[in-house]
């Protein structure tokens, strides 16, 4: 059996001189000719990248452009097939994440890596390295407190991480890396769970530490706004290749967008027709629900969606949006009334069919598909027991596959065939397949949650187009999204959800980022 990481004794104990340690200069990093292949697929093709000391460097690219592959090669999760790394000009060998940590390279992941049931104090102490015996909590606490006084932001260190807000968790992740003496920090989409204000604050602090010469930062993002405001330099990847970059000051958004998506047309604005909203199709009255831990997730939600309008629900993740969509999908018990087309709605097949109710939940592969069943079968979930596919107790495979082929064609679902298990499709194509199922018939009410999360440009344009088209045809659309830009682009009205309540409403014409952000944070 291989040696046990956890028991190695060469841990870098962090001792009292933390303040002094921070004075260590930020390093430079060169990645030269990095190549990584998975079988026949070249995920990274001779990509080079230079991080200058004390700068913030943005890594831009669409999903699947190779950003995370590059970063995982630097962090030691993957071993590059070719290429070399140099830290401060000296060759660097990294075999695993532990080596990266020893070299002072830390990464803040998109999903949090703190242990939820443990406190920040426990988490950070464990990060320092393994000591099997008794932990002197008093000494550890004193050490952490001393470290925190040198930091620009604070977090509560004695409550379990599961009780912290997303912003606090994100800060804690960054503090953890600094506490572990990382001098080069890689941030993977760090602002996706933060309010705009929190994001600005956090990036501003990181940038000030970089300018102060304490840190070198590589930030993975797809938000141009953040690149422009906080990055010194940028590298753009497309399909595993380095396609451009340079000083941010020398580039415009249009330049960067062109590099990112290549020559293909940039994101078109979905063609919305001006129309007056019709009668109320979906209404929630005083809806309350509990989350999995038994804590209130919805604390009395009232909202109305009319025919021919898109109502956007903004909010930082974890403020009840998931529970809201689950209630509408009949996946969560609730108090209060849900009315669809004026009738009480309990999510039975009968009601769904009668009211032409369509639902696109977040993570559709998990929430709206059966992964091992075929694309065709998944597309038939709403209609398999109805003619022409269903006949008595039988399902006509021929009709099922014919209809699936039609939808695959019409909705651009890229699949090896309608008989392929749906789990073999990429995220964007699963999303398209579910949308095809939900939107192919008459639609009076459509509920979508984060419909384009993690998708590339062409898929985003496609799906947004479908949603707006449904609205133009007269559907009432409830669009729950964590992406404020998406809501500002699509919604006729924007509601802000905070701590399980709707706390703010703005019409399309008057909606502004600033006040929406303040309400998302619960500060207004």
């Amino acid at each position: 059996m291989s040696s046990i990481h956890a028991f190695s004794l060469d841990d870098r104990r962090v001792d009292a001189g933390h303040g002094a340690a921070l004075a260590v200069r930020a390093p430079s990093l060169d990645a030269i000719g990095m190549t990584k292949r998975f079988g026949d697929f070249t995920a990274l093709d001779h990509v080079s990248l230079t991080l200058h000391p004390g700068t913030v460097h943005a890594l831009l690219g669409e999903n699947g452009a190779g950003k995370s592959t590059l970063v995982k090669c630097i962090m030691g999760f993957y071993h590059a097939d070719a290429g070399e790394l140099r830290l401060d000009g000296k060759p660097l060998r990294i075999a695993n994440p532990r080596d990266a940590q020893h070299a002072g390279i830390g990464m803040v992941y998109q999903h949090f890596t703190l242990v939820p049931s443990m406190t920040i104090l426990e988490n950070l102490t464990m990060g320092l390295g393994f000591r099997p015996g008794r932990i002197d909590w008093r000494a550890e606490r004193a050490k952490l407190e001393a470290f925190l006084t040198t930091m620009p932001f604070r977090v509560p260190i004695d409550s379990p991480v599961s009780g912290l807000s997303a912003g606090e968790k994100q800060k804690a992740e960054i503090l953890k890396q600094l506490y572990l003496k990382a001098r080069l920090i890689i941030l993977d989409e760090p602002t996706s769970v933060l309010t705009p204000q929190e994001a600005d604050e956090m990036l501003g602090l990181i940038r000030s530490m970089a300018i102060g010469g304490q840190l070198t930062v590589l930030i993975i993002t797809h938000k141009f706004r953040e690149v422009l405001a906080f990055a010194d330099e940028v590298t753009v990847l497309r399909r595993g290749r380095h396609v451009g970059g340079g000083r941010v000051a020398d580039l415009s958004v249009a330049d960067m967008a062109r590099m990112m998506v290549g020559e293909q047309a940039s994101r078109e604005h979905a063609g919305r027709e001006e129309r007056e909203p019709g009668p109320v199709m979906l209404a929630l009255r005083e809806v309350t629900a509990l989350d999995d831990a038994g804590a209130p997730a919805l604390r009395g939600v009232d909202l109305e969606v009319r025919r021919g309008e898109i109502v956007g629900v903004a909010g930082v993740s974890g403020n009840g949006q998931t529970a809201l969509v689950e209630v509408l999908g009949a996946q969560r018990r609730h108090e209060g009334t849900v009315l669809v087309g004026g009738d009480a709605f309990g999510g039975t097949r009968e009601e769904i069919r009668r009211h032409n109710f369509a639902l696109l939940p977040e993570e559709p592969l998990r929430n709206a598909c059966v992964g091992r069943m075929s694309v065709g079968e998944n597309m038939a979930f709403r209609h398999f027991d109805r003619p022409p596919i269903g006949s008595g107790v039988w399902v006509k495979r021929g009709a099922l596959r014919r209809r699936a082929r039609e939808l695959v064609e019409r909705y651009n679902v890229r699949t090896t065939g309608v008989d392929a298990p749906i789990m073999t499709l990429s995220g964007g194509n699963v999303q398209r397949a579910v949308l095809a199922r939900e939107l192919s018939g008459e639609v009076d009410v459509l509920v979508c949650a984060n419909p384009v999360f993690g998708l590339d440009f062409s898929a985003v344009a496609d799906i947004h187009g479908q949603i707006v088209a449904a609205r133009n045809r007269g559907a009432a659309v409830l669009l729950v999204s964590e992406d404020l830009d998406e809501l500002l682009e699509l919604a006729d009205r924007i509601l802000v959800m905070s701590a399980g309540r709707i706390v703010y409403e703005a019409a399309r014409a008057t909606a502004d980022r600033q006040s929406i952000g303040l309400h998302m944070a619960g500060h207004a």
């Binding site: 890596t113 242990v115 038994g294």
Partner: protein, 308 residues
Amino acid sequence: MGVEALGWWGVPLAVGAGAIRVSTPFLFVSLGEVVTETAGRINLGLEGTLVMGAMSGYAISYYSGSPWLGVLAAGFVGSLLGALHAGICSLPRVNDIAVGIALLLFGTGLAFFLGTPFVAPQAPNLPSIPLGFWSHVPQLQAALKVNALFFIGVAMAPILAWVLRNTGIGLMIRMVGDNAEAARAMGYSPLQVRLWATTFGGFMAGVGGSFLSLYYPGSWSEGLSSGQGIIAVALVIFARWRPMYCLWASLLFGGAGALGPALQSVGVSQGYYLFNAAPYVLTLVIMIVACSPDRTLAGAPGELSITK
């Protein structure tokens, strides 16, 4: 007999004494399983481990003449079975529950096969500590004869609770059990930690088994265990993965298990089998009370396959 002397007071006394006697295997198995489950694995094979421990402990005690050597042997055999479970579960795409059921059948079957020669002979039993020496009531004296293993188990509960809170090993176990990805990112190896945690769980279950064959009931037979290993796994969930709660829960289940014999001793023979079923009914009732359609279990380790 003294039943007349004590009358109905004999029932709570017998239940109390029974609680201490019957609870010991529950206590050992559940404390071991708390560590295993805190590390993010569930080992349903502990019933088999328990029976193997009972058989091997009895056999070694018989051959060596030392019951304590038997206890150690039972623990060792239990560790092997625990390590086997962990080893199989370390392979990709292996489900720990399925492996557990397989090892349950394997453990009991192997114990019956190897244990046949030990059904008849009498092996030296573990001594007990007569804590009732000050009393003249024979029932009280009998009730207060407590086996040393019980005290070891009672001491283990707070020790384990302390270790899980205040030592590096304890935090590491909680870490891999709650978020394996985070543990890996910090350089801890979940598979290794789970290997040790499951091995420890097996050791404790083996020792718990030796108590059955070497003290109460005190001989080896195929009907020795009546599902204690499985009940103890349920008990861990009831105890919310806390060692101290395991202690109280074990005493509760022990008391329930002693109800039938206690009632019989005062002459209530009607519904004897019904009272004997008390622990199983209690298991069901507790599972129903503890569940909820609205919430996940508080305190459940995040990596556990049954609560994930």
